[in-house]
Symmetry: C2
Subunit: 448 residues, 2 copies
């Protein structure tokens, strides 16, 4: 009996041990995946550690910071709070912090001066009132969308600094001394953060937004081409087939919040790579919003299952789907390479519209049901698919227009001017189009 | 000549003045609207102002805080940074701040002790290394979704406090004194925030989430009923008609981020009203996600325009749309009143499914086109609408299942047990259903 109990006990213990081990392994695996998914996260962590150590040691070695006194801790505080993943985030927070501290400090000194005039008894009342009014009004401004978007952190620091200065109870000469110290340490902290985030493996919010929009369009393209294949494929109903394209568009549906925060940060970023300082980030949001609407249509499309394939309707559906997919692919490539969308977009769009017109004609000419169908019920699914595809063409056209506008405003280059390439004529049904295929650029031709 | 120039100048000035005036008026109007849209924002601002003034004066009156010294500013800092719009947000940040300060302070003292052992030369190296490692590792953990969701702010404060304590260069006895001061001021700040946000017009993130989900379902219901009327209405194509229901569902499409942040804050909230401490907030997210999918279908539906109305198909579409709308309305009411969804939901769902089956039958029996239609093209739009509506029924059913699960887990009450009401039999086509209509409860029956 005792041995059984002991064995049981051991079993429980080893089970527990196993459980903990499995949990730990899982956590380690997940953590590793987070790093592998985006190695910039690891670089970011190291950058934060590095900057903080730098500023901390600066604070630690007293001789260096004797001029700053206790205020040195503000440098550490600034680094921890201000260092964001993207350059835009870091700059936004640094400038907000610096500007708000300056403004609030000045107002705080003013408040102190005003309160001094009111005598010893009036002082706390005046100061209390001022802190109350400024805090309440500033907090309310944080609900205004434009303020929230750009200056949320600044308003927070404004309230903080104003309260600290106003109620410090120090003489004005003391405050000036303190303000000078604190501002310089905040400047040191903020400047260190900006320099490190700019110079060591910078992560640009603008670039991320640019790539996100391009890859969202690419995802829709992949989805549509997948559906095109499915509609054309006779064995599509078999389960063994890879239907991963039914999921690709889903990530697009929920990208609004990410896009907006990236655009906000991008607004603060200096010129980098081929993005100028006032790159039209807002237009990316326009494109993104239409892309999401299109993804919604694709979501509906993914719910449709086709059983019968009337011979005349099916090819048009396949064509619409494939050509829309190709047009989107071209648009995505254009954004990625920062080219003005090539004429291939228009050609693919025209092809898909031609297919739609053809389909409409076919349907108008049907005065009875297609001969292959036994009843109306049988051809409804393909009619629905056709109708949604016709709607999708409209959205792809809108996307093309918005990407075109973006490419104009952002000064994208003409593809032929930028890249040496092979001109390859392709015959797409009855239309001839010239497609420019990119050849890999030689990086430093002069040294060869 | 001179007079003309002077007049022009005056004109420009008055124009400028007009412009500024218009701008100011607009800003004032927008600001007023922000307050009117949600008056709780005004209360929140006043609450922040009040708390800050309270803590500031506490800090100002030296006799009161002599025990705390310079650390008193940490109370102000805590209030400014920790006071969030919702109770959950405030509690989350306060606990994060308190817990992280405690943990980091203890680790910091340990680090200081360890560094002391390494002699005067080794000290800065050991401290620098420790700060680097802890900052880098902690920053990386902020990318782990679970940490980011609940403890993001805590990790930030952890890095901050650890660095400040580790490099303070003070003797350990001094640090203990400092830590005691700082912790107590942070506690005072955090506790004041929590008390004020709990006791004066509390804003519950959980309640907001609850209402958001209910109103999202209500929006879909209004949309579907609007479409139902449109499909049934002969004059629908006229422009004068109010088509606002084409827009209602759009807000639902982008509510994911809001829902998730509310759910995160709600997790921290204590029992309030009829929400217990561990109310199943996660299930609201499930419901929300299906509601969004359904909104996507409605978005596609809103792109369809019907011209012809074959006599046999149209009534089924109207019925499906209206019945789905009614089912959603019941579900929304059930959530709002925290009732287990009544049997009316199932009845409306069954009605809509019956309409769908009827429609399928009609279509199966069509071996040729409906007699009213001149060609296939003419009946395609209504077929598409019908098909999307059939899909929508599936989503409404899924919503009903998820709301049911929520109502079970959250312990919603049976409507008849909770409310006195009039039992009113309604005859819905061929099905008889008993609907319980709520009568207004008397608030304080004992005093009457």
């Amino acid at each position: 009996m005792e041995t059984t109990s002991a064995t049981n006990h051991e079993k429980t213990r080893s089970n527990l041990f196993e459980n903990v081990k499995v949990r730990l392994m899982e956590t380690a695996k997940n953590t590793k995946k987070i790093g592998e998914d985006d190695p910039r996260r690891i670089f970011h962590s190291v950058k934060v550690g590095f900057t903080l150590t730098l500023v901390s040691l600066f604070y630690y070695f007293r001789p260096l910071y004797n001029g700053f006194g206790q205020a040195g801790m503000w440098a550490i505080l600034t680094v921890v709070v201000v260092f964001e993943f993207s350059v835009g985030g870091t700059i936004s927070k640094s400038l907000n912090r610096g500007g708000a501290t300056l403004l609030a400090g000045a107002l705080g000194v003013g408040a102190e001066y005003l309160a001094n005039l009111c005598g010893e008894r009036g002082e706390p009342i005046v100061l209390g009132l001022l802190v109350f009014i400024l805090a309440a009004v500033s907090t309310f401004t944080r609900f205004i969308p434009n303020v929230k978007r750009r200056y949320d952190y600044g308003v927070l620091i404004f309230i903080l600094t104003f309260s600290l200065v106003a109620v410090s109870g120090a003489r004005i000469s003391e405050i000036m001394e303190l303000a000078h110290q604190r501002l310089s340490t905040i400047l040191i902290g903020g400047a260190t953060c900006i320099v490190v985030s700019l110079c060591i493996y910078p992560v640009w919010a603008g670039q991320d937004l640019h790539h996100l929009i391009a890859s969202n369009i690419q995802n829709l393209s992949a989805s549509l081409q997948g559906f095109g294949n499915e509609f054309g494929d006779v064995v599509s109903s078999k389960d063994g087939r890879d239907k991963s394209y039914h999921q690709i568009h889903k990530s697009v549906l929920n990208s609004k919040a990410t896009e907006e925060s990236l655009a906000n940060f991008a607004w603060w970023e200096p010129s980098h790579g081929r993005f100028k300082f006032n790159h039209p980030w807002k237009l990316y949001l326009n494109v993104g919003s239409i892309v999401r609407q299109c993804a919604c249509q694709i979501e509906t499309l993914s719910g449709c299952t086709i059983n019968s394939k009337p011979q005349k309707i099916q090819p048009s559906c396949v064509k619409m789907s494939m050509e829309c997919g190709k047009a989107l692919k071209e648009l995505s490539t254009a954004i990625k390479s920062m080219w003005i969308p090539s004429s291939a977009v228009a050609v693919h769009l025209n092809n898909s519209k031609a297919a739609a017109d053809e389909l409409k004609n076919i349907m108008e000419n049907y005065s009875s049901l297609p001969s292959e169908a036994d009843g109306l019920q049988e051809i409804v699914p393909i009619l629905v698919v056709a109708s949604i595809l016709i709607d999708i063409i409209k959205f792809v056209e809108k996307i093309a227009v918005s990407v075109n506008e973006l490419s104009q405003e952002a000064g994208f280059k003409q593809p032929q001017l930028l890249h040496r390439g092979i001109v390859k004529p392709i015959n797409d049904d009855d239309q001839v189009v010239v497609e420019i295929v990119d050849t890999p650029e030689r990086k430093k031709p002069l040294r060869n």
